[in-house]
Subunit: 199 residues, 2 copies
């Protein structure tokens, strides 16, 4: 008969863990790698230092968990978008917007910080590379499906790759300044290109 | 009659400074921000710690100098390419290759590290932003001139912007793994798109 007592405790523990992970993503995206210390994460999450260390004994453990969660979320976002694929005359614009949203969102900004830090920390690179590959595949599948719903346009595969590299370029440009206005114009021009190319 | 004595000393001093800056770019591009300490830079440059501190009293002074030099070099590279603009049937492929070379080269990899670090250090952002803007303008001027040598294709401006965002996306993808093989295919597909779009 321990279950009714244990369960709320497990829920609380899970909620604490989730708050710590969410604070980490926020801090990484807005303040960067150096500013994202376990102490600051715990403070922002409203969690004691001791409780934070119970969940994540080392900074590495915290970052490994957060990288996995961020990439799982972005990959799931691509999967969810694929399940509700836009149709009709604006479908190209819609799928490009979905791809751009993935690479200009907060999780990707946070991921970029870890990505940069991986240059000084090869173990981080080992964690990110397979997850980045998996995200890239899910995003590619989404964009191909959006550009070529009935499988009649073989050029859609290359155009999807260009779309994703472009989206990553947008994501990068957005880290230094708010690039949304400039990006909107370039994105619209790319949608126009795609529309012509897919005829 | 001090000049003959002073000059070689100034030359040596300038050479030491250049070696320190070159080591910093190498370290940033290959080992990342955290690993690029003044001590390691001095060691790699074969310069004493004291001499390094004479040139760059603080880590900030070193990074400010290196950022300015990197961006000046990349902007000069865009300017030099503009002066020797390719002509003929392969001119589109050539100018795209020049743009991609700027954003996948060592200085941009080093700049990306500073760029990420700027999230935790707003003063760094203040140094980079105007230089990034200046580089962006020089690169845009280069690509527009390559895509539209006689000023008859107004769409070249937007296509140049797409080219540069794409090139930055390539630059980013190349930091995590050697992306040159995959990139070659996507780049060729983009050149094909441009060729059709520019009729």
């Amino acid at each position: 008969m321990n279950a009714p007592l244990r369960e709320p405790q497990q829920d609380r523990s899970r909620a604490t863990r989730e708050r710590l992970l969410a604070s980490t993503v926020d801090l990484l995206a807005t303040r960067g790698w150096a500013a994202t210390t376990v102490a600051k994460v715990a403070e922002d999450a409203g969690v004691s230092r001791g409780a934070a260390q119970h969940h994540f004994p080392t900074r590495e453990a915290l970052f490994t968990a957060v990288i996995e969660q961020m990439y799982d979320n972005m990959t799931a976002e691509a999967g969810a978008a694929l399940a509700e694929l836009p149709t009709g005359p604006d479908s190209i614009a819609a799928v490009v917007a979905q791809a751009v949203a993935i690479y200009t969102g907060k999780p990707f900004k946070a991921a970029l910080q870890v990505w940069s830090a991986a240059a000084s920390d090869p173990a981080l690179g080992e964690v990110i590379r397979p997850l980045e590959l998996k995200l890239g595949r899910a995003a590619h599948k989404l964009v191909v499906a959006g550009l070529d719903p009935d499988g009649s346009r073989p050029q859609a595969h290359r155009l999807a790759q260009i779309t994703l590299d472009l989206a990553r370029g947008f994501g990068l440009a957005d880290t230094l300044t708010d690039d949304s206005r400039r990006r909107a114009g370039v994105q619209a021009a790319w949608v126009e290109q795609l529309t012509v190319a897919l005829g």
